[in-house]
Symmetry: C2
Subunit: 709 residues, 2 copies
């Protein structure tokens, strides 16, 4: 059977792909694929993994919070000694000025302990990075060396109990006092306590404190200040107070805590003044006139947190899948159909449905993250650092971080359940990872808030695309868009009819299988959703503020869904680019199936949308599910282990008993026992089985699913 559009062969009777009509075992170049997954900063990743393979950096399961915190602090010092944390800093301070390489290495630290990752992120990615990005020469000279060496552990004091994602509304004030040429840092009420700050509960000696800068009676908005908080004995300095946030759902190797300030004075020069400075006497000036743009520029310099969370979520998903797929490829449960053995878990359709789309998603995340890292490196190395580059970077990070952190949580949950009771043991690692990853969904920007940013950006791009974004223009353009959509729809529908006539799944799905069709479907959904929203918002300028806010709120859920659809498209595009660049034939074939699985599961998830909007006919929609179940899963099954091997983890990285081969050894031992018993004619007869036979064979007839205790 040939295909309408795509020429990929269809194996009809075997899980193996057909080449020239013959089933073949494709050869996958695992080593080369592994290299591609490591990406441009492969050497930095490898060096970091090498370090993180050492026992000294590993999390010890069950360690109490106090001991865990102390251990992670020690590990931070060891990372300084190993020169593992200075890649991003200026060469004159001993750094490498490699922002991309720095994050790549940093992300892999999650393999040892996500607490270690995030605590080093607090010290060098937030505290020291804020000094570097928001401070100027004198701050760099004075504070970067001790921050880099960990002589000066610091907190990043932005979030308050009362304001998280809405940074602009924080309550802490920094009021300039011309009498003494100082800023007075003050917490006016309980909700303005700084909160959830790593290094605040115990180890921080200083903090970069974000506060409303007030001078000469004017509030110039949020600025950052260098503020010492503890003396050398670890006691709070006068006017500074705080609390321990205590035990958390995970990341308990980090001493998160609260800080508050009672008229604490710092020298005027300890304002980190790259984007706004105050002269002696109190005159304020800034290189950026607009307070709004200034605020977002300052915040934007700290985007690396989001970028690195996207990467770390990807690393953690890879680790979970490497464990669960390895186990599923060895573990046997319930009799197979022939009655002479038990079936390997990964041969069950449901198990494939649970783990293989997760694997495809993780590949997409890995390739998409690589693009994000390139963009980040371009901006922060200065190679590509226009306003547009920065905006693009921020939007990309705001789209990918929600996708990967949510996907990672789902993937690790599925991995845990797929390993059953064994998956729940700390010795098998997965339950050590997921609770840590949990908070990634809401810190460094709550996922829902980030997606709203992306959605607003999509809307404004949509308006800008047509130069004059006034209400009438948008309305006209929406009409145009609808016209275009109608065209697409009838095109697809005509094909759908033809397909229904043939009544073949392979043909029904043929059109959709092509790369262009997947791209069209995913792109069309984003564009149509944005266009629909733009249409609803077109008269928003005419509304009173309250009514406008109400209109916006009534469409909030859809706006977030549109932004998420955009993130899905970005992930798919990154995967596709990588597949198209692949030169090894076998690898390319298998990656194409994996990309198809990713694309198809995205389309399947939103099938109702495609049906309602006339993009897919009923038979074609059904064919997508059938194609996943009948073609893609069986095709990919034989390569599942290769695909996790390509992640390149060593046992020291996974540290999971069930991923060690122990399960296979146990299965073989028990099988050998029954074989030997049968050979020696010592096997008991099964009750009413009629003939003397081995227990296994006979039991298998009765082996139906039932409870475990």
């Amino acid at each position: 059977m040939t295909d309408v559009v795509d020429t990929t062969p269809h194996p009809e009777t075997t899980a193996l792909p057909l080449v020239d009509g013959e089933p073949v075992e494709l050869d996958l170049d695992v080593a080369a694929l592994g290299e591609r997954l490591l990406g441009r900063w492969a050497d930095d990743r490898r060096a970091s993994r090498e370090l993180m393979a050492r026992d000294e950096f590993h999390r010890i399961p069950g360690l109490g919070m106090e001991e865990h915190r102390a251990r992670v602090l020690d590990q931070l010092h060891r990372m300084v000694e190993e020169k593992a944390v200075h890649r991003a800093f200026p060469k004159r301070f001993g750094g490498q000025e490699s922002p991309g390489g720095n994050l790549a290495a940093f992300e892999e630290v999650a393999l040892a302990d996500p607490s270690l990752q995030i605590k080093s992120g607090v010290q060098w990615g937030l505290f020291a990075a804020a000094i570097m990005q928001l401070g100027t020469e004198s701050h760099h000279e004075k504070y970067l060396p001790p921050a880099m060496s960990l002589e000066l552990p610091g907190a990043f004091a932005m979030t308050e109990t009362g304001h998280g994602s809405d940074v602009a509304s924080i309550g802490t004030t920094a009021t300039y006092d011309p009498e003494t040429d100082e800023f007075v840092i003050h917490t006016p009420f309980r909700a303005a306590w700084k909160d959830y700050l790593g290094n605040a509960a115990l180890h921080g000696r200083a903090a970069v404190v974000f506060a409303q800068l007030i001078t000469q009676g004017v509030n110039h908005g949020v600025h950052a200040f260098f503020v010492p908080i503890r003396d050398e004995n670890g006691a709070f300095l006068p006017g500074v107070g705080g609390e321990d946030d205590g035990l958390k759902g995970g990341l308990n190797g980090i001493d998160n805590g609260r800080l508050h300030f009672d008229h604490v004075r710092v020298p005027r020069t300890d304002l980190l003044d790259r984007y706004g400075s105050v002269e002696k006497g109190g005159a304020y000036s800034s290189p950026i006139d607009s307070p709004g743009r200034r605020f977002f520029t300052m915040i934007g310099t700290l985007v690396q947190g989001r970028v690195s969370l996207d990467g770390a979520a990807t690393v953690m998903s890879k680790a979970g899948l490497a464990i669960a797929i390895r186990y599923a490829s060895e573990r046997r449960q319930f009799s197979d159909g022939a009655g002479d053995g038990e079936t390997v878990l990964l041969d069950y359709q449901r198990h494939q449905r649970r783990l293989l789309p997760a694997l495809a998603t993780t590949y997409a995340m890995s390739f998409a993250h690589e693009k994000l890292l390139e963009q980040y490196d371009g901006v922060f190395s200065g190679a590509h650092d226009t306003d547009a580059d920065r905006q693009e970077l921020e939007t990309l990070a705001a789209a990918l971080k929600p996708f990967s952190t949510w996907a990672g949580l789902d993937i690790l949950q599925e991995c845990r359940e797929a390993c059953g009771g064994a998956g729940y043991l700390a010795a098998n690692r997965i339950v050590q990872l997921r609770p840590d990853l949990d908070i990634y969904a809401t810190f460094e920007g709550d996922n829902n808030v980030l997606l709203q940013l992306v959605g607003k950006r999509l809307l404004s791009d949509y308006a800008r695309r047509f130069k004059n974004p006034d209400a009438g223009a948008i309305a006209g353009l929406v009409a145009q868009q609808v016209g275009e959509v109608a065209l697409n729809r009838s095109g697809l529908r005509a094909l759908g009819q033809k397909v229904a006539d043939f009544g073949s799944t392979a043909r029904s799905v043929g059109f959709v299988r092509g790369t262009d069709a997947q791209r069209q479907l995913l792109t069309d959904r984003v564009e149509t959703m944005v266009a629909e929203l733009a249409g609803r918002f077109r008269d928003v300028a005419k509304l009173a503020p309250e009514a406008a806010a109400e209109l916006f709120n009534a469409n909030q859920n859809e706006l977030i869904q549109a932004a998420y659809a955009h993130a899905e498209l970005l992930e798919w595009e990154a995967f596709t680019e990588r597949v198209e660049a692949e030169t090894h034939e076998g690898t390319k074939r298998v990656l194409t199936w994996l990309r198809d699985l990713f694309g198809f599961t995205l389309i399947e998830k939103h099938l109702a949308w495609y049906l309602i909007h006339g993009r897919l006919s009923g038979p074609r929609a059904q064919a997508i599910t059938d194609y996943i179940d009948d073609r893609l899963l069986p095709r990919l099954r034989p390569y599942a282990v290769d695909l996790i091997d390509a992640f390149g983890f060593r046992p020291e990285h996974l540290r999971a008993d069930i991923a060690s081969g122990a399960e296979k050894a146990r299965q073989e031992e028990s099988r050998a026992y029954y074989v030997a018993q049968k050979a020696a004619d010592e096997a008991p007869v099964m009750e009413k089985s009629g003939s003397k036979t081995s227990r296994k064979a006979a039991t298998s007839e009765a082996a139906q699913p039932s409870a475990k205790g």
Copy 2:
């Protein structure tokens, strides 16, 4: 505007419902609703909650594993003293012979600590219950009193490292030795070690061990034996060995571990012989001839574990929602449209979308669990204990337990994220609950395995419904079914057309809104899925075993989806029954909306299926989403807090700082600060704001979503 089918009024311009065209605040009878949620065994639940309100039973966050285990063991002794755990046992031993009341009380124990719940479940719900259900008079006399009093802590040794859900294939043997009139309990290989057993690592002195019973050279299948494992000093008895399972993802107050046996001898009389006994000399007999039926009967006596997990998952979901919705009703973030304050989280559409369907689901779970508990009580009290009753109970438990445990995990995750960083603190409780609940999805029957059982039951019911379930008959009936379906489809389609002509959301959704229409849609989906599967399986008898297994596997995912659809229908029906029985007008109205929200979100989730199968037209499908967003969420919003108040938890049950009113106090304090500052004319001018104004009002213009640090 009137409605086509349903006469519930439509408020078009306000969140308040219209009655006779006027918006009214409905009055919800919270106390009476609370009583209904507590159900038939309200007194037992209240007594248990009273006990669990005490500090001595509360989990201490961050307690090390050893200390947690010791604490929970002490708590178990305290529960004996409080006479809290013997409701299910015979009156002659001091019990109450109230199986339903026992489970109701037991489920509430999760409010204090799920470890306490599950450890008491191991002792009294598995170990002692197995003695009661599988043993006979002499076992009861000898072993029940010390098991009930906890003088004899015991393990339930069913699961092995090599076999979890497939109990029939366990490897442990119990071979009768006529020489000594003893059974020899033996572990033939590593995979046959008993594993994941509560009480096995430390506290158990005995175990009910499941093993293949072999006598006179015949294996009679899995039976249970009473086996002492430790002496009074806690040392293993000769021939018994074991290991600690160590730290787990949760439930670390329980000492799960492994056991193995090296030719351990127990008296013949310690076979728990209700369903199979061995005479002196070795002759085997059983009241149940078929080994398969005997096995399932024995396993079936232990269904209470599943029943109680369904209830406990419901209790834990209620607790999570009580915390997250309370917080969402007080917490404010980002400026409201009018620019004079911040918006309460629960007023955001997205926040409503996250929490209100979860609330509706939890209500469904609560009412469905009550029905399950009634069924369970009927069977185990002997009031309704036919084979059909037992089968019905097992199928119901196998359907509801996967639904509620998975829903519970999703709900607690959503609650955690909805509370942001505060949700991640142990002090706010949610992250203490979810990791414990995690394992509920795979123990006492893996959810996927249970759903397959349900699916098989649905298929065999489908065949049985037509008396002679041979291939031809099924085939003919599938054709009939398809005919019926086609009728339904055209009926709906015609209505869909009419609706499209009017172009009104309210009208489009009108038909679907009615209870009968929701029932029809949900029922139809289950029946059609089962019929489709039955059609594919109709020739299965003609196939070779291998091909039959392959065919089954190729449809495994759909079978599980059909079973899950059945579970959804059961949940919806239970909710609907409760709504229909409601007599208080206001309560009934609000519960109807909540039930609609539950039904609509189910239908929305499967919208693609309804569209592909022609059950809903595109416009009608779109109208369902619009109806949720535009009508149901705004209608239910004002009652969200009442609906969680009806759960009846006290602060001692929730133990979450953010559910204490502290957030509201903080918001009011900060608001008062800005008001006073403005009143005193001390507020700084905002940069470039042009006029002297308060910081809050001016900032709100620039307040766009951005990162938290």
